[in-house]
């Protein structure tokens, strides 16, 4: 809009937007603040906002008592592992669909996306039983595979859209220059698609980190990520809010940060191209 917006209007909207933003963000803010309070302080009324004795004790206790780090490292392993494993088979698949499409490629892509729409409960029973019999319950390998399959359609889809943005002529030039398909992928495609690949990895780390169905049903403590860890706080053991807040803050902080960078990727990945 080239014409200036009247100042008054701008201020009113700004106030409104900031107000609503604050309200929406409040639960998160409140949790972060509470994590720095003592337990007594946390449940006292009226609630204090900024003027209380800030303490880091909760963070220490959470780690000591329930080994937060183990769960966090599980989250990292599961998120990274499933994403990287998926990339291994998704990159070639996306390459093929973007640069060597056949008559059925579009249908294939749609079918892949449709697998994401199957309700997990439809697979819960058999998967649980198979995992139980193969001793994969509560194992890193098992969950990594499940998360990989869960997110594979989105990963392929996102890579496909990024690959399509690479001018085909550059790949043809590399072919004229004598590059085999493998060398074409390594020397030309991958470097050019790196931002796209990074974006895909980013979004999928977020999705895998927050996944709250399979991580809750198929893990107990060994391979349990932060989702399960927090869930175990659900049976109250007396005063525990400050500790819960600390645990929660630690659990969500990495993803909040990553998420702020991943907005564009979110739109691209989760609307399957229907919104630009």
């Amino acid at each position: 809009m080239a014409r200036a917006v009247p100042l008054r209007r701008k201020l009113i909207f700004t106030a409104l937007a900031w107000g609503i933003g604050f309200v929406i963000f409040f639960p998160i803010l409140w949790t972060i603040l509470t994590s720095f309070k003592t337990e007594g302080e946390a449940v006292s009324l009226p609630p204090s906002f900024l003027f209380f004795d800030w303490t880091l004790e909760n963070y220490g206790i959470v780690q000591e008592r329930s080994d937060y780090l183990k769960f966090a490292s599980n989250s990292v392993i599961l998120a990274l592992g499933s994403t990287l494993l998926a990339l291994l088979i998704a990159v070639p698949a996306a390459w093929a669909m973007a640069f060597a499409p056949g008559k059925r490629t579009k249908d294939l892509l749609m079918w892949m996306l449709s697998t994401k729409m199957m309700p997990p409960v439809g697979a819960l029973i058999p998967l649980y039983l198979i995992f139980r019999d193969l001793k994969l319950l509560d194992s890193h390998v098992g969950i990594v595979m499940v998360l990989m399959l869960l997110n594979l359609p989105i990963i392929i889809w996102m890579l496909y859209t990024y690959f399509k943005e690479i001018p085909g002529e550059i790949l043809e030039a590399s072919r004229m220059d004598g590059a085999s398909i493998g060398k074409e992928l390594i020397y030309v495609l991958a470097p050019m698609a790196l931002p796209g690949i990074a974006s895909t990895v980013l979004l999928n780390i977020i999705l895998a980190w927050n996944e709250s169905f399979w991580t809750l049903t198929l893990t107990t403590k060994n391979a349990a990520p932060l989702t399960q860890f927090i869930a175990s706080y659900s049976s109250p053991e007396g005063l525990f809010w400050a500790k819960l807040s600390a645990a929660s803050t630690m659990a969500i902080a990495p993803i909040l940060v990553l998420g702020w960078f991943a907005q564009k990727q979110l739109v691209r990945g989760l609307t399957f191209g229907a919104v630009k």
Partner: protein
């Protein structure tokens, strides 16, 4: 662009993904269907039923095959109607809240305001909070009738405190889940708004279009697409809400379909019944997927 050679390599390149997804789709689903016709309980004193394969001895089959009794059992369980109703109500209300809220918020954020990017971050944040954290934070810190923040507010206004999970568990879940998905709707609709062709706006200006007409005839149709996408995508995920119900322990009273299946299977150990429930959930989801595919198909042009 593709030659025969690259096309055949392409087929090999796609194969692992196709096989992996195919197995992921078919195997569990087939097993679930199979189990749904079996009398199979994990606590069954007669474990032979778990080894039922098609083609087993006839008398074993007679004993273990349950026909459609699992389905009847599941569908006539009063908990089923409740769960089904809760599933659909959850989807409905979250959609209403997130879409209307999201549209209004997106329109607001599209205006010229100071610090728009910062506000955007505030608004987007809830979507990235893991559902288990969101559930516990809401249940304890916000909605607790004694020490929760909301209780403090209502009490200060002289309205007394509401024990959400005791009296209105469904509403509580709806609020939680809406809080998580409102950012998603806002983000999508805002993205679409911001991609609204600048030149169209200017052409309308030249034509002297009044703002209300502009909004009605140009913005609303433009929004139809992202809103539809939001509705369809959210529905798919909302039908499968699980963590919030599991973690807040409201399964008994506000459980939805997925939770009921989980309950049957992993808590009551009724594999047969749970499988029947799972299939019903799948059928429901397929109907939705059908419409979603129609919508997306238009966008998968080369």
């Amino acid at each position: 662009m593709a030659t025969q050679q690259t096309r055949s390599i392409g087929r090999i390149a796609v194969a692992p993904s196709v096989i992996a997804l195919f197995l992921w789709m078919i195997v569990p689903l087939a097993m679930t269907i199979w189990f749904s016709f079996l009398r199979y309980n994990l606590l069954d004193p007669n474990p032979a039923c778990s080894l039922m394969t098609p083609g087993a001895l006839m008398d074993e089959a007679n004993r273990c095959l349950a026909g459609t009794s699992n389905y009847t059992y599941f569908l006539t369980d009063p908990a089923f109607f409740k769960a089904m109703r809760n599933s659909l109500m959850l989807v409905f209300w979250v959609l209403v809240i997130s879409v209307t809220g999201g549209t209004m918020l997106a329109l607001l954020l599209d205006q010229a305001i100071y610090g728009r990017n910062f506000v955007r971050l505030l608004v987007i944040a809830p979507f990235f909070v893991m559902p288990t954290v969101s559930a516990l934070v809401w249940k304890n810190m916000m909605m607790h009738p004694v020490q929760g923040f909301l209780a403090w507010i209502t009490k200060s206004l002289g309205l007394g405190a509401i024990d959400w999970f005791a009296h209105y568990p469904m509403t509580a879940i709806v609020i939680m889940v809406s809080w998580q998905w409102l950012p998603f709707a806002t983000l999508i609709i805002l993205t679409a708004l911001q991609s609204f062709d600048e030149e169209q706006k200017e052409a309308a200006q030249m034509d002297g279009t009044p703002p209300i007409s502009f909004f009605w005839y140009m913005v609303i149709p433009h929004l139809a697409r992202p809103v539809t996408v939001v509705i369809l995508i959210e529905t798919i995920f909302l039908l499968n809400v699980f963590a919030e119900i599991y973690v807040t322990g409201s399964g008994g009273r506000a459980g939805n379909l997925p939770f009921l299946v989980y309950h049957y299977g992993l808590l009551a150990n009724d594999i047969g019944g749970a499988s029947a429930g799972g299939i019903i959930a799948v059928i429901l989801a397929n109907i939705v997927a059908f419409f979603l595919m129609r919508m997306i198909g238009k966008n998968l042009e080369a």
